[in-house]
Point group: C2
Chain length 391, copies 2
DNA sequence: ACCTATTTTTGAAACGTTTGTTTCTTAAAT
DNA sequence: ATTTAAGAAACAAACGTTTCAAAAATAGGT
């Protein structure tokens, strides 16, 4: 990245006609004014829908405006209004790949909304990746320069970044799926306890009594919320929980595989080098759950693989449900039953709030409404299970 | 998105002090000049590393510059230089989710490089999602306004967008994994024939003779390139190909599952409602490949699931190799052997070229160097296979 | 010493907006 | 008819840079 020489030496005439192109010089507000026989101030007023322009003039200017295909120069406008017309979406470099992918989905939604809102709003969203351990981070720089009008952050923000934000009065909103929300920040939250409750209730409603849970201990807030929902559903359905079937080693898909393995081997961790057949035998001899709830689709994918590796069929022997509805969920074999989380909703709630604040208003945190289970192929009602199951 | 009122009425004093914040007014180039007892022109020259400033003055100005923590106002600079200091990365809305995820990975690499290049280069990258069927798209608008200094596009660009780009002399580079490159455009390519050849050769080198291929017919260019590489490897290893084991229905992971099913049932498509057991029996009776090469990891995931659904073990009965090395590849059970494609390399090659062109230079297309197979757990040498295999 | 080249430095005019203030219309009220 | 007030439109000064053209300082010959 060294050779990024961004200087342009004596390039006025050159840049005016852009490299080798005809590059029709774009019409300025003054051109329009001249064409209408009116002052540039007036044109500016109609552009910004201000009071005090007669209807006749307004109409005339508007006509010329779009017959000329006029487009504002954002730099000039921003120079005067002290805005950058950019919001920044920050993702922690350290976030898990699966999380990043999800966050990107949200950013994509924002970008789409923004570009379809043209030319009403000319904002753009720029993704920023920030490491947890940088002392003076790139983001603080942007903030102090006034290069950002607002930030959307996933998971949370480092204290010094928050300091910079507050210091410059730059609004920000946190989209924090599964993280504890800083009460001072406006944030868009997901009720994972509820989601977990719904998923588990759904499984229970199908007659399953032996249900395992695979969560993510690495995120304590998320872990306890989901576990709480799971237990509540169990309790309300008169089911008893089994300690060894509540697993949380999973901090990534690899961990989920391990969790599943332990569940199937009755909590005994497979010895290094233990023969596959032996491990399997061990598993089949003991008790196993007829359904497992994973707090993320990706966990379910791994867990399903492991179960099959042990010789169980999905869903005939063991049912699986996840949360997220990642794109693969419907393509996998068998398609995964899951509760969707809508990136579009998250994006809309967050952007609505951010723009309200950019416009000088206030905004309150919100918890997005939970959605319902999407029934696919990874779940089988207890009564239709292939073989009888004895705990 | 309606309520995005971006006007600020009579907000001069308000915006000067930013909402409720102390918001230290950032130092301008004139402030620095005054502090050094020098003109603003001189400061500008040292900022931009221009000729004709004496070393003494240059040093003095530089000292003040960073003791004051000066940061350029990008809007003012851009207004004068006719640059936006933003490049746009465009992704087709219609691209497959898996592709989008990969493209995002590349954009993430770009964003990281850009933010770590601060404050040398102050560029930012903004993702744009563009639909194939929009007539006058958002991108053309950006281009005509001079709101973008360059674009990176994945897969390709619509003719009218290319027209706008050429018209305004805005440089662009195409990152087109698996798409036919427009010879007039500078593009960063991947040699999928080579990748396919390497993967297949690797499998063959392990003693496998019955190798199946699952490709992506929806992308004809990609499909024929990969198939060519596959066949070449077969030929060079003295292996004969089987028509029914070269499958290309796969245009998404779902299709890959279908392809695998057909391979296992000897090309007979399973009847709607055919009993699972029956399907399985059908499969086991006939011939099956001992290894399958999938042109994308995601295909391999589905194919592996199907194979296991049919009762085959991976890799003991059937080996799998993919291309991409998506993050999940190493977490799946068993971890997938694959050839990686480096998003970082793609990002660097593309950005290097784009910036060269932005700086007025020329750039040539390039094919990035192919990488080697990463050996994981989804492949088993022919000789170690669990059961003897009879075709 | 002076005149000329050369190197440094500076003044000031842009770039395309927004917006506070002033000026001009026009109509209503006296 | 004259004054007043409101409403429209225009002027012109910013915003923070870059860069042309010109001035000032320095150095290099005679």
């Amino acid at each position: 990245m060294s050779g990024y020489d961004v200087s342009n030496n004596g390039a006025n005439s050159e840049s005016n006609a852009r490299r080798g192109g005809k590059g029709a010089a774009p019409a300025t507000i003054r051109d329009i004014a001249r064409l209408c026989g009116v002052s540039s101030a007036t044109v500016s007023y109609v552009l910004n829908d201000k009071y005090g322009v007669s209807d006749a003039v307004r109409a005339r200017v508007k006509a010329v405006l779009d017959s000329e295909g006029y487009a504002q120069n954002l730099r000039a406008k921003g120079l005067k209004t002290r805005r950058s017309y950019a919001v920044h979406a920050v993702i922690r470099k350290e976030a898990a790949p699966a999380c990043k992918a999800f966050y990107f989905g949200v950013i994509a939604c924002i970008a789409e909304r923004l570009s379809s809102a043209l030319p009403e709003s000319t904002y753009s969203v720029v993704p920023v990746f920030q490491s947890d351990d940088e002392s003076d981070d790139t983001l603080s720089g942007l903030i102090r320069n006034g290069d950002t009008d607002g930030v959307i952050a996933f998971q949370g923000l480092m204290p010094n970044t928050v300091g910079a934000l507050e210091g410059q009065g730059v609004p920000y909103v946190i989209i924090n799926p599964g993280f504890e929300a800083d009460p001072r920040a406006v944030s868009v939250k997901i009720d994972f306890e509820e989601l977990s409750y719904r998923a588990t209730s759904y499984i229970a409603s199908l007659g399953h009594a032996d249900i395992a849970f695979i969560g993510m201990r690495r995120l304590p807030f998320f872990f306890s919320a989901t576990k709480r929902g799971f237990r509540r559903a169990l309790r309300e359905n008169g089911l008893t929980e089994r300690r060894e079937w509540i697993r949380g080693e999973a901090d990534c898909a690899e961990g989920a595989a391990d969790a599943m393995r332990r569940i199937l081997t009755g909590g005994i961790k497979a010895e290094r080098g233990m023969a596959r057949e032996q491990e399997r035998g061990m598993a089949r001899a003991g008790a196993y759950p007829t359904a497992v709830f994973c707090t993320q689709d990706n966990f379910a994918f791994s867990a399903m693989s492991v179960a099959r590796g042990f010789g169980y069929r999905v869903p005939e022997d063991i049912s699986f449900v996840g949360i997220d509805d990642v794109p693969e969920a419907k393509y996998i074999e068998p398609a995964l039953t899951t509760i969707p989380i809508s990136p579009q909703t998250l994006a809309d709630e967050a952007m609505g709030r951010l723009f309200a604040m950019i416009d000088g208003g206030q905004a309150k945190s919100v918890t997005v409404e939970s959605m319902d289970v999407i029934e696919r192929k990874s779940v089988c009602p207890r009564e239709y299970m292939a073989t009888s199951h004895a705990v």
